[in-house]
Amino acid sequence: MKIYTYAIIDSNSKISDTINGLEGIGVYNIPYRDMGIVVSSHSEQIQNITKDHILKYEEIVERLMEDFTVLPMRFLTLFNREEDVLLMMQEHYNGFKGNLDRLRNKVEFGIKVIWQGETIKNRIIESSKKCYANLVIPDNSPGKSFVKEKFEKYKIDKEFEEEADRCITIIDYFFSRFIAEKKLEKLKSDNLLLSASYLIEKEKQKDFIEVFEKIRAAPGDLKFLLSGPWPPYNFIVFTKNANMFNRKPVSQDRAGENAI
């Protein structure tokens, strides 16, 4: 038997509607104290995971989000027995409780911004060529040549990042008006200036989307992507006391033997 998990919810009641999860198998709520974890029970591990599984999984989590506060599980977290699920709930109860309370009535929106990173970097490289005629690292030896090259690259990267920071600060300022929390990832690639997640109250969704529409319409060569509302994937927080970094979970199934 394999138990596939979907999300922790702030309810210990049965799920009233029939909801079919992965492989069309009905999901149910395993209660634990004042919360529960929604799972589906399978006779064996799903062999070939496809994009349909991914979409179905997300569909279930979002469906739950309509009625409950949810902490989505990372996709394909599974257990061998219900007892193991309960042990896991026991271990992490405090962490889950804290997160559920914090995330109640809130949703996540994603903003991604593309800028002309390559163009900007080239501009910086060009102007640095003019400056470095005067650079005080003579390259009359292999060691110094090595350093000079590294240093030039370092200066270019540094200026590039500073430019990015300036740009991000402005963008973030506009989006931060209605938010409870945020998580910013800068320059995941040269052109992907920003990948941000914003946690906002459900009632403020429309305001947030309006801000996006305005910014997107503003002149400039930035490209914007908005997605949401999502379950709060990026805002699950564990502290040491909540035992996230614990010894191995009791029965998380592995492809082979114990991994390490």
């Binding site: 062999q47 070939n48 991914i54 977290t77 992490h92 970094f245 492809a255």
Partner: protein, 71 residues
């Protein structure tokens, strides 16, 4: 118009993948290296319970081929 729909479906899938594969509640066999009881290095030994090759294929080409029947 077909390509517009395909493209935005693709973006949607990428956005979903961005979240469900690495984020959310992560219960896994992890390793924390600490010094004098201060956790310094967190080594995420995430063990994905699925065919990694399948996930590779899904990430590289979200719309490659038709839906597969489960075996």
């Amino acid at each position: 118009m077909d390509s517009v729909i395909t493209e935005s479906k693709e973006v949607t899938l990428l956005e979903i993948l961005d979240r469900i594969l690495d984020k959310g509640v992560v219960i896994s066999g992890d390793l924390v290296i600490s010094l004098a009881e201060i956790d310094l290095i967190y080594v995420g030994l995430k063990v994905l319970i699925s065919s990694v090759e399948t996930m590779e294929r899904l990430r590289g080409a979200p719309f490659a081929g038709a839906t597969e029947e489960p075996t």
